[in-house]
Amino acid sequence: MAEIANQQPLALHVPEPKARPGAAPDWSGVILPKAGAQPRPDEVCAASETWPLCTDLIRVLDEAGHAQGPWNPRLDAETLRAMLRNMALTRAFDERMFRGQRQGKTSFYMKCTGEEATSVAPAMALAADDMVFPSYRQQGILITRGYPLTEMINQIYSNKADKLKGRQLPIMYSARDYGFFTISGNLATQLPQAVGWAMASAISADTRIAAAWVGEGSTAEGDFHSAMTFATVYNAPVVLNVVNNQWAISSFSGFAGGERQTFAARAIGHGIAGLRVDGNDPLAVYAATRWAANRARSNAGPTLIEHFTYRAEGHSTSDDPSQYRSAQERSSWPLGDPIARLKDHLIALGEWDEERQAAMDLDLAEQVKTATRAAEANGVLGHGLHHPFHTMFEDVFETLPWHLQEQSEQAMRERRIKWPDWRPEDGDDMP
């Protein structure tokens, strides 16, 4: 064996973001190509034709609010206004729910502020019956698909009208009738499931496709790689979205490998199509999703889309980002705000103005308020025991086995001792 001498000691690299609290943000690593400059390959092209786009950034809206280049989806004004409204409604909803949590109406909430385009625009670009497998920050999909706000709030409050019977953490919605898969909370598990759903659709000679969302941080999970492998092996009709919002709680994207390569570039190693998109440009997001959806529908295979965006707020109501990132990051984020950019575009087209924007915002706030009131009539989490105790034991299995029957009787005995004022009309009388 050769003697290896005079080597320097090995050093471990632990990633560090460019700015911590107290420092000015440094966006020198964010390269913003000109809007409209990116080529748009044919939807059924060889995957390799997309690979230059994995390290580029597809942009449509320029600084002056004009739509540029081959990725411009050329949406009519009515559709653009609907997109603006869906994003603004999502933001208004988030504001109100965040406040509700602070007021003690529920235990937890997660906003998607700044990332609205990454769920609203894809939801508009997909067919209404395409199946979506969201992560936890895609409330914009439900809102765009017209799921009742009151139902969302019932879930957030775990109240007596909550269709999920108070079992799930707030915002972990499930809406089968709206093609919206039950949200897990364990990260990235939805990706192989989406691929499996898409494979099942192909096995069944269906026409519907699947789409899934995951944060850049959770691309580190094995599930991401399993999903990519199955997607490429079976050419599954699926769109896999990585929402790169720069932060996974306090861990910046470097802890998922973002210092070395873009997330879209993971498509290259798997041999599938990949697109890297300005995630704060709703038109670019729409166009990329439509491209990938058409590709999947043509049996031309899966696409990985990285949405390059920024988490403008904390991870959740339990988080305080001022503890770990620069306070000026949000205001200086170079890709702007998706709602402001679409608004500017509509104004530039002569299809919108500040007065209508202000009126819309008021109207949306009122809509959310009305929905909130309706949900509050069904109770809020703080009011306690909304669901009959036997519901705790149901749906573990299709039918109740003896051991759960025994445990359910125990729970009801305890109820009589712990909550003697429980009204029989609330349900749950002992069998």
């Binding site: 999920l164 990706l191 199955f230 299709e398």
Partner: protein, 343 residues
């Protein structure tokens, strides 16, 4: 007038293959996937001929990714298919655990019934084939601990087919562990003697076509008054043989399903015999035998005449060359029977 049921002698592998064949033919939503299950028909031949018969979009090979296999199966179940994934060895199942424990097991619960995971995960388990520590494990207790999973373990060809059909038709996720030592013949623990073929065993008479052995129902393999023996899989045969050799008047119960457990059959038997021996091949600490022991104690304490005995594998990884030193065979079972029956 009902049709006369015709039976055919089968090995356990043939019975499993037959169950899959019956279900593929009956239900177009049944799909089979796993490592080497397609063209090749599986490393143990459980899926032999099925791809040729049903096409490669219903029976197909997968990447070597248990996380992917289970995760994809969950998605297929959500779509409306009824996937029957194979995990090549139970020892390989761990990369798929999150998808089983956090996803398949809880889909119905967390979505209040909107989505279900009607999968049947088949996997060969247990030792006795010189598989070493990565082809011999019995991890059933990891799954019986999880709310929302059913765990089924057959011990003979007749039950394997009927239980597998019942598992596939069940709307809950089922872990279906197949004792690979007895795929091709029953095993009494006499590892130094030639393998007995299934054809000499009465339980190799397998009805043709569709039938089920219901989940959650144990089977009294042999009635007796002296001691209740609780076992499943390979150990049903081993424990039974020791009882016969020693002339013990044992009531041998094949649990067949661990969750949901047939507690009534267990209670009835122990209340009659007053003695209970539990036998499994899996490691001892926290094994399913601990649960059985606790349940027997809770339900039959005043009828018990002597302490419950647990006969298990040792709390070590499954060794290769010392396989038969590890295996809970005639000596370990015999000693426990002696202790139970001494007065």
């Amino acid at each position: 007038m009902s049709e006369p049921v015709t039976c055919r002698r089968m090995t356990m592998i043939e019975a499993i293959n037959d169950a899959l064949d019956v279900m593929m033919a009956r239900d177009p939503s049944v799909v089979i996937m796993g490592e080497d299950v397609g063209y090749f028909g599986g490393v143990f031949r459980a899926t032999a001929g099925l791809q040729k018969k049903y096409g490669k979009t219903r029976v197909f090979d997968t990447p070597i990714s248990e996380c992917g296999i289970i995760g994809v199966a969950v998605g297929m179940g959500a779509y409306g298919l009824r996937p029957v994934p194979e995990i090549q060895f139970a020892d390989y199942i761990y990369p798929g655990l999150d998808q089983l424990v956090s996803e398949a097991a809880r889909l119905r619960y967390r979505s209040a019934g909107e989505f279900i995971a009607p999968l049947t995960v088949r996997s060969p388990f247990g030792g006795g084939i010189f598989g070493g520590q990565t082809h011999s494990q019995s991890p059933e207790a990891l799954f019986t601990h999880v709310a929302g999973l059913k765990t089924v373990i057959p011990s003979n060809p007749h039950d394997a087919k009927g239980l597998l059909i019942a598992a596939i038709e069940d709307n809950d996720p089922v872990i279906f562990f197949e004792p690979k030592r007895i795929y091709n013949g029953p095993f009494t623990g006499a590892y130094d003697r030639p393998v007995e073929p299934w054809s000499k065993h009465p339980d190799s008479e397998v009805p043709e076509g569709h039938y089920t052995v219901p989940l959650g129902k144990a089977r009294v393999v042999r009635e007796g008054e002296g001691v209740t023996v609780l076992a499943y899989g390979t150990m049903v045969h081993v424990a039974h043989a020791v009882c016969v050799d020693k002339g013990v008047d044992a009531e041998v119960i094949d649990l067949r399903t661990l969750v949901p457990l047939d507690i009534e059959t267990i209670k009835q038997s122990v209340r009659k015999t007053g003695r209970c021996m539990i036998v499994h091949e899996a490691t001892r600490t926290g094994g399913f035998g601990a649960e059985l022991s606790a349940l027997v104690q809770e339900h039959c304490f005043y009828e018990l005449e002597v302490p419950i005995e647990r006969v298990t594998g040792f709390d070590t990884p499954y060794p290769h060359s010392l396989e038969w030193a590890y295996f809970p065979g005639a000596v370990r079972i015999g000693e426990a029977l002696d202790r139970i029956c001494k007065d």
